[in-house]
């Protein structure tokens, strides 16, 4: 599970360099998110622009990552393609996460 992170303004941007976040990698994703966000001081932006598919297990792993961060370090999302966005909307998770139209928007906030 290839993730990288970089401080951008007040946010830590974590980019997922994988095409899929699914049931076969959900646990690794959650563990890698914990490692990448250990140094986070404020909000974390998860950049999904390279991800073209998530299933409900992947969605659950992203929710788990948000819980790991606790309420003081919100997890926000950017770079959702049409199908990834659809999974968030159908499950109403778009009401839980702040979803930015682009990574530029996310870091400009």
């Amino acid at each position: 599970m290839n993730l990288s992170s970089k401080a951008e303004g007040d946010a830590l941007v974590v980019s997922v360099h994988e095409a899929r976040i699914d049931a076969s990698v959900a646990i690794q994703f959650k563990d890698r998110m914990r490692e990448e966000t250990e140094s986070a001081l404020g909000r974390v932006v998860l950049n999904l622009s390279e991800v073209d598919f998530i299933d409900s297990s992947g969605l659950g792993a992203i929710v788990a990552a948000m819980k790991q961060l606790g309420g003081t370090k919100p997890l926000e999302l950017a770079g959702l393609n049409e199908n990834v966005d659809k999974v968030f909307r159908l499950t109403r998770m778009d009401t839980v996460f702040r979803i930015h139209n682009s990574l530029d928007d996310a870091v400009a906030v």
Binding site: D22, D55, K67, T91
Partner: protein
Amino acid sequence: MTNPQADIHIELKGTPQEVRNALETLRHKLTAQEFAACNAGILEIVLAEVLNNVVEHALAGRSDGQIIVACNYAEHCWFVEVRDNGSSMPGSQLPDGVMPSLDKELKDLPEGGFGWGLVRSLAEDIDYQRHSTGHNELSFRVPD
């Protein structure tokens, strides 16, 4: 019946990695010329949830799990059949597919239970049969 003459026919073992491979095969086949105009994304979401459910529940703890997927395309619609040799759905009935409530504290937000909600949101005419041969057969259609 699931048959090798289907437009798309995929056989897999009951593991998460095999599900990923099967969906990648599906994606590859769906980008072929004859299906290039189809909305592959919805079909992929539905099949992912159906197959994950089979692997996590019907085939839980089994090493001999076998799943067959057949997809036929006609009149702007995918007709899908999924057959597996796992245990029966609880009560021989399909899950109701009600999405978990999100009206909770952060620490109590659900991390699962969305699979059948997604299937019921996106698929139509869902039918489930338990066969006396010890197989489950699920059929549904996904409008293009």
